[in-house]
């Protein structure tokens, strides 16, 4: 090791990256207000805060995607101007953002080396490309085929490609923005192991997450942001969940999972030996009754989302039946399903859920304008529409309650609330929530759970599909576990435990 006086990466005292008095001013909004932040070599520094607290702004400044309004960024003690992502990379700062930077039509290896393709005498060297791509994937322990086209990969695997891409340049600072949001438990474990390896080599990691268990699991220090201010920087291992939530929200949230009384009535959804044409679902049978929350757990790609999408008419059925309130609705279009009171909340709100450039009002009322009272003869009643939207915004507690604002200008949590409000715009008997809390902060998460609980108490049938294990464990009255398109197990009441459920997540020997 070097003596303390030199600027060595491995020096624990000298910060790898330091922010001094950083201010970022957007028109009308002060996103960061004199933020001080330090990342030491070899540590995992967690950034924690609600949506809109300034986490994303801070990392986009560090990654060179934006420039601060005032303040200084120092890399290894030297003041620097991070004018571009390219410059930041040269300085050893690599970021993995939530929004993917992959070209869907290219293969995994082509994406990994995009802009830095191995060459021989001016031409692309396919062999070297394959070799080096395999080396990176092997080092990370990712089981990906380098020749696979990215667009055909599930989201979790796309995320893995994204992470692998950041590791190509051997960064000294790695920024991970909710890296586990779409990873399964085992993939997340691999990532954690990897983080251990690289931090041991002196790499500093800035880690953003909404999952509290991860903070203690991987974090060394945690910095809590609120409204653009640093509230505190604490020892990640020694700080309790409730303390973190309190710091983050500025108030005490006692319990994020509400208690939902189980009072099942008539069967609403009855699926019998359903198989989809794509074989993503194979012979699955489930039922959901009014007044209960039924969960489906499983790995990504286990067919849990596809099961609901097949029922809803988004994927084609090859055999089996779907009954809604006793009526055979197998293979009907999703339009017909909606009319019969079957609502499906898609997992990817930007991709399938919202028109981001249209107002909150138009988004919420979209499925209700074809019917009375909003439809009056050939025309729309603007009053009725505004009335409906005002009521629903109130119900989901959208803050700020501005129905005319473009949905794209709301934070992720608020966008999810708009999507929930949409589900109430017309009469629904069966709600299917597919990953309802992806990428939302703890306070919104608690609000969404309360919302689901209220629906259930009002007598709706609810199917909750989630890759977030604590979520389905806590919320479900009954829980199905899927593996490779089949229902592996069903639990109810006290049998729903992490241990019981996890043992059915993977292939069982001699099963």
């Amino acid at each position: 090791m070097q003596p303390q006086s030199t600027n060595s990466v491995a020096d624990p005292v000298l910060a790898l990256v330091e922010c001094r008095e950083i201010v970022k001013q957007y028109p009308g909004v002060l996103a960061l207000d004199h933020v001080d932040f330090q990342l030491r070599g070899g540590e995992v520094h967690v950034l924690f805060g609600e949506n809109g607290a300034g986490k994303s702004t801070l990392i986009s400044l560090l990654a060179g995607a934006q420039e601060p309004t005032s303040g200084q960024i120092l890399v290894r003690g030297e003041p620097v101007q991070l004018g571009s992502v390219h410059r930041a990379r040269q300085l050893g700062i690599s970021a993995v953002f939530q929004e993917f930077s992959l070209v869907p039509q290219l293969t995994v290896e082509e994406n990994l080396f995009l802009g830095a393709e191995p060459r021989r005498r001016g031409f692309l060297d396919a062999k070297a490309l394959r070799r080096e791509a395999k080396a990176i994937l092997a080092r990370l322990g990712f089981a990906l085929d380098p020749a696979q086209t990215v667009q055909h990969l599930p989201r979790a695997e796309q995320q893995m490609v994204e992470i692998a891409k950041a590791f190509r340049t051997q960064p000294s600072v790695l920024i991970l923005d909710e890296p586990t949001a779409s990873l399964t438990q085992s993939e997340a474990e691999q990532l954690f192991a990897l983080i251990k390896v690289i931090t041991a080599q002196g790499v500093g990691v800035i880690y953003i997450t909404h999952r509290m268990s991860e903070i203690r699991r991987v974090g060394d220090r945690v910095t809590v942001l609120r409204d653009g201010h640093v509230v505190a920087t604490l020892d990640a291992k020694a700080t309790s969940d409730s303390r973190l939530v309190e710091l983050m929200t500025g108030r005490v949230i006692t319990e994020i999972y509400p208690v939902v009384p189980h009072a099942p009535k008539e069967t609403v959804l009855e699926v019998d030996h359903l198989t989809s044409v794509s074989s993503s679902v194979r012979g699955a049978s489930i039922n959901v009754r009014a007044g209960e929350i039924v969960g489906i757990a499983g790995l990504i790609g286990s067919g849990k989302s596809e099961l609901a999408r097949t029922c809803f008419g988004l994927e084609r059925t090859s055999s089996g039946t779907v009954r809604l309130c006793g009526e055979d609705v197998t293979g009907l279009s999703s339009q017909a399903m909606l009319r019969k009171g079957f609502f499906y909340l898609p997992p990817d709100r930007r991709e399938e859920g919202l028109m981001t450039m249209r107002s909150c009002r138009e988004n919420i009322a979209l499925s209700a304008i074809a019917r009375k009272p909003i439809r009056r003869g050939p025309f729309l009643s603007v009053d009725q529409e505004q009335e409906l939207v005002r009521r629903l915004i109130d119900r989901v507690n959208l803050q700020p309650a501005r129905p005319e604002r473009d949905v794209g200008h709301f934070s992720g949590g608020n966008q999810q609330k708009v999507l929930l409000a949409k589900s109430l715009a017309h009469p629904v008997r069966l709600f299917v929530f597919d990953e309802p809390t992806v990428g939302v902060d703890v306070a919104t998460r608690a609000a969404i759970y309360r919302f689901i609980a209220e629906l259930c108490a009002e007598g709706a049938a609810i199917l909750l599909i989630s890759s977030d294990l604590p979520e389905v464990l806590h919320m479900s009255h009954r829980l199905y576990v899927m593996y490779r398109g089949r229902i592996q197990a069903e639990f109810s009441g006290d049998d729903i435990s992490e241990q019981n459920v996890l043992s059915y997540f993977f292939e069982r020997e001699a099963a």
Partner: protein, 342 residues
Amino acid sequence: MNQVAELPPTTATRAVRLTQRLFVRMGVLPFLLLVAVIVFTAISDHFLSTQNLINVVRQSVYLTIVSLAQMLALLTGGFDLSVGTIVALTSVVGAAAMAAVSAASPDSVWLAITLGCLAGIVAGTLVGVTNGVGVAVFNVSPFMMTLGIASVGFGIALYMTGGVPVYGMPPEFGRVFGFGRVAGVPVPVIVAILIAALTWVLVNRTALGRYFYAVGGNVKAAHLSGISTRWTLFITYTLCGLLSAVCGMLLTARLETGEANIGASMPLESIAACVIGGVSLRGGVGRVGNVVLGALFIGLVQNGMNLAKIESYLQTVVLGSLLILAVIADQLRLRLIASMRD
């Protein structure tokens, strides 16, 4: 959240901020309009005269109607390159039918006009229906479908006429629908105002209109909200054909002949009018009022260039550049909006 660390704003920064806000809200149009008025007023004394401005409005009628048609296609995230062909085919078919009926029974002038208009508008609308079937049912991209149909329709119009104008319409047709006035207002202007009003009601006050925005805004979300995206797209291109056809008949009345060669500049000019009027090429965003202003602006520029004695060949250079300028401005605007997000 809203504690803004502000220095006391100077007049200059306040002006910049106001300009930015105006740009974000209204797009590039007010700025272009201002520049055009200043430039052309400086070049020609006649430019700002009432008589000339009325001329501009009258000449812009045709582009306005086609731009409203184009807006419907743009709202759903597509576009229609065949609007010019529809105008031409309508003109040829309408004029031929009118001339034929008029020749068969020279006394019933209004029967000839009615049947002729009907024939022309049905022909134009059928082109729109074909576009609709291609885009909605067979999932052909709007670009390929309307480009192909533009060639097909233009070929049919030329084949029918042999490239020669169609004469023989009753003179009353031109006298009323081309040059007529009601209460001092030219008839084509009245028709355009009516169409603009109806289009406004359609997109703002009916479910179908809302679905145009929804399909262009997020096709998957629209589908999951129970909207028939195919039907919506089909109607979009059919209506686009219908409106363009109405324009075709009005233009025929003005020219007093059926021509296969009119409308060639319509696709470019109508898309330019829409984009300058703030309609997004990605779909889901656009307002009727701004599109009308966009079309008027293009009419104003053409008129100004005529007064300034700029050659017609050079005029197309200016129009093309304006279109590209508008698209670049739209990109800048998106960037500005993105930087204002919280």
